[in-house]
């Protein structure tokens, strides 16, 4: 029977759930050995990605990519975290800040497939469309 990356991820999560750090090392080592034995190490990237998603979901942890034109200060980062906690009911929010001058200003928040686009670039595009279609 062929086992998918998702099934491996789910198994890894079940094995590691509620375990302390010492036990985790041993479990992960054994799991990696098993993958090597089964010649499935090529799935490790996918497994880790899905594992991370499962872990975050189970522990109400949220990862979000934050794109801005300029660096965002700590105070505002906390504001963003709180905003996301409230919006998605997460206990913990992990932010991955990125700078992209092309967005001109504002912010884009990406959580998986969910996107909040509050960038100036988007507003300009909207304005452009509005002018093209309604003037």
């Amino acid at each position: 029977m062929r086992i998918s990356a998702k099934q491996y991820s789910k198994a890894l999560y079940d094995l590691t759930k509620g375990k302390d750090e010492k036990e985790l090392d041993s479990i992960v080592f054994n799991f990696a050995s098993e993958l090597r034995r089964r010649r499935k190490l090529n799935l490790s990237d996918d497994i880790m990605k899905i594992f991370s998603e499962i872990y975050n979901k189970e522990n109400r942890i949220m990862e979000a990519e934050i794109v801005s034109a300029r660096e965002i200060g700590n105070e505002q980062m906390i504001g963003i975290k709180n905003f996301l906690k409230n919006k998605y009911g997460a206990d913990k929010v992990i932010l991955d800040p990125k700078i992209d001058k092309n967005i001109k200003g504002g912010i884009i928040i990406r959580m998986g497939e969910d996107i909040i686009d509050g960038s100036i670039l988007k507003k300009m595009k909207k304005l452009n469309n509005l002018l093209k279609n309604n003037v």
Binding site: G79, I80, K104, G105, G106, G118, L127, L131, V135
Partner: protein
């Protein structure tokens, strides 16, 4: 006999003349009258035949004349019909050509109007797009020069507070 002699007629001579007459008559009949009669008869037949032929020819001529008149009349009638038909056809064709031409002209006008309308719409869209792009570009330039961290903060605040 005596009487004949008294009248100066010699019986022998008379007899001889009678005989001569019959001989002459026979010779003439044999060598002259018959060929002449045959010739005459033949001639007469020829004339008669000629007359008959002439009559036949006359009749034939009359028939031919009648026939040719009939043919001529038929031909005239037929030609009149042909002309009439051609006139009708020409009239129909003329009308059809006129209608077709009118239709073509109408279509050309309609197409031209449509094309002008399309061009106009296209131009309007192009102008709108150009204006929109210019406005966007101008906005972008202004933002690049004017927007700072404080503006950015305000914008982000607005996003997370809404």
């Amino acid at each position: 006999m005596e009487l004949l002699e008294n009248l100066g007629i010699n019986g022998k001579i008379l007899l001889a003349q009678v005989v001569n007459f019959f001989i002459l008559f026979w010779i003439l009949k044999k060598f002259a009258y018959k060929p002449v009669l045959n010739l005459l008869e033949e001639r007469s037949k020829k004339i008669e035949k000629g007359l008959k032929d002439a009559e036949v020819a006359r009749k034939k001529l009359e028939e031919t004349e009648i026939e040719s008149k009939k043919i001529l009349s038929d031909a005239r009638k037929h030609s009149r019909e042909i002309i009439k038909e051609a006139e009708i056809r020409a009239e129909t064709s003329k009308r059809e050509i006129a209608e077709e031409t009118k239709h073509k002209v109408d279509k050309m006008i309609s197409d031209a109007k449509k094309k002008i309308e399309e061009e106009k719409d296209k131009m309007v869209v192009e102008v709108k797009n150009e204006v929109a792009d210019l406005v966007s570009l101008a906005t972008e330039k202004v933002l690049e020069k004017k927007a700072d961290s404080e503006d950015d903060k305000k914008i982000i605040k607005k996003v997370i507070e809404n």
